[in-house]
Symmetry: C2
Subunit: 353 residues, 2 copies
């Protein structure tokens, strides 16, 4: 298997290194051969190549079986014109690879739940998956431009019906592997695209009679994520709605530093990245938390390569490290022993072999 | 002053009646003369006139100084085609009256804070105002249509620069009357309209040197509302973003049943409504909580008529009723005495005279 590593900016370098070590150890144990190729993206690519997404990087990703991405962005590039912003690299690679399905699993760790802003009884037991459409919708529709000498501006929320169909299918399939409950989130009382979205979900329902389906307006979803996160199993929604709701959901369990994500296309090629950002303030200090990146490799093993057992080994090792009372500085484990990136990696390695 | 009452559906009738009584008592005490005209909107209007927004209602509102709206919607009309849905009445009247600024103040009541899904230390002391643009953006942009025989669909996020300018001005002015901190929320790393939005805020800043300004991406805002609601004073944002964030914020303080809202245009004409819905399940039972509607009349007195003192009398009366240990069934006041709509109204009346 060919894996492209895109460390990106800030702590990206450190967490990618750590994740690679864990992956090497697990693949060795299970006798798989993975080859790694490192390429630039984001701010690092702007500095070296004058663009956040060099052709070379795109080509390498296109030839790979999976991509691991650290993080992009930092204050250094914040004032750049928009085509020279690190995020453009991320948006570009998603679009170029056709990664239409963004999976964001959100599950609390017992050791961290007390750090949640929510009351224990509200959040305990939440375990949800947000399936966000990632290559269409309001993010990529055209026109997206100024008009009348800058006196007007438009963005466009555009979908082909088949784009909605494939993400809805993906979500139904994800629901089947879980608790078989799907919440489709839209704004069908206002948007035409949401009406089509709702129709597609209603049509597809017949193909998944074992999955229970519910429609929820996006404003109501934003409320219920807070008042009763346990009511959700799988949520499927438009790109922009998914961006907002998945970030909202990411802080519910007190585990933001632990959350992985997967961006997939139909043939299983995928890009895996932690939900957290590049944390420029702690970059290079050896204190970054590598666990979300490590858990992202577990998602890769499962979703791109069907290696469930190997994925589970990594996930259990991470779980075990927390149970054994270790954490990094960003995590608030009660009475936990705070360790740096290297030591945390070693602790996980100890538990995967 | 000419006031139009639009009871609408569900509990709308009951809470409007209650609010009118309180208003009559306060205006009498301060020697103002208000005249009331009742008209149909929403489901009730569909049933009687075959449209959620009869011309007659529009005309009456156009000739009035302020509008009080109960609530619209209910399962009875949920399957209707979209032009015959109760919400169309609400969207229509906002647009027809040009009510571009939706103000959603969110402040906890001490007696209710324990009902918040958030931990006490996270939510205590939060007091924020969301200023949502209400007549443009993704809600009203055209085209909003199916194409290619239904194989594609688009919605449009459209703004005139001047529409952004006037809502931003409104938010700066609101911030001046409060703690002088403004958070402008956008998605400037993706949307062209958000880039213009950010530019306008940067330009306007010079006119309000006493107000501190911060820009926040909508996904980050969705997180921070939960992790640190106290950091916000005034938030200003696009229509769709505002819909999502204001509903998210409305559940933070445990006071959903207590939240009023104002929708204003430049000359002070406004529509005032509770944030909660029409609650069809309890309609007609005499148990609806009229306090959000009553507090909406206080917003009307302040924003449409500049009657600050009168507004304060109502707000203090409501506060006092809670302090005296009374509540309605939807509120969770510890050891509170649960009363019905009529009795709650009487308790408020007792305290405004
Ligand atoms: C960096 C940004 C463009 C990106 C997005 O909005 O998709 C990020 O917020 C995310 O959710 O992965
Ligand atoms: C009923 C609906 C169209 C409306 C909106 O989305 O504006 C409501 O959610 C609100 O926020 O007042």
């Amino acid at each position: 298997k060919q894996i492209v590593l895109l460390p990106g900016d800030g702590i990206g370098q450190e967490v990618i290194e750590s994740a690679k070590k864990v992956l090497e150890s697990v693949t060795e144990r299970f006798h798989h051969t993975f080859t790694y190729h490192t390429h630039d993206i984001g701010g690092a690519a702007i500095d070296k190549h004058g663009t956040p997404l060099p052709d070379d990087t795109v080509r390498a990703c296109q030839q790979s079986d999976a991509v691991l991405l650290g993080a992009v962005g930092g204050p250094k590039w914040d004032q750049n014109p928009s085509h020279l912003r690190p995020e453009k690299g991320l948006l570009g690679i998603r679009k170029q690879l056709g990664l239409f399905a963004n999976l964001r699993p959100i599950k609390g760790f017992d050791q961290l739940l007390h750090a949640s802003p929510l009351k224990h009884e509200v959040v305990a037991g939440s375990d949800l998956l947000i399936v966000r459409e990632l290559t269409g919708g309001l993010y990529f529709g055209t026109p997206s431009e100024r008009r009348q000498n800058g006196k007007e501006v438009v963005d466009t929320l555009h979908y082909k019906r088949e784009e909605i169909e494939r993400i809805v299918d993906n979500a139904f399939q994800s629901a089947r592997l879980r608790r078989k409950h799907l919440t489709s989130v839209d704004k069908a009382n206002v948007l035409e695209s949401s009406k089509v979205w709702r129709e597609v979900v209603e049509e597809k329902k017949a193909d998944y009679p074992d999955v229970e389906v519910e429609h929820l307006l996006v404003d109501a979803a934003a409320m219920k994520l807070i008042t009763n996160p346990k009511q959700f199993d799988v949520i499927v929604t438009e790109n922009m709605f998914g961006d907002i709701l998945s970030d909202e959901a990411s802080v519910l369990t007190g585990s933001l530093g632990m959350l992985p994500s997967a961006s997939l296309r139909e043939d299983g090629v995928g890009l895996y990245e932690p939900v957290h950002g590049s944390a420029p303030d702690i970059a290079g200090k050896g204190v970054a938390n590598p666990l979300a990146m490590i858990l992202s490799t577990a998602l890769m093993l499962r979703h791109s390569f069907g290696l469930d057992q190997e994925a589970a080994v990594i996930e259990e090792a991470v779980q075990q490290v927390l149970e054994d009372g270790y954490c990094t500085g960003d995590l608030d484990v009660k009475g936990g022993k705070v360790v740096g990136t290297k030591e945390m990696t070693r602790l996980v390695l100890e538990r995967v072999t």
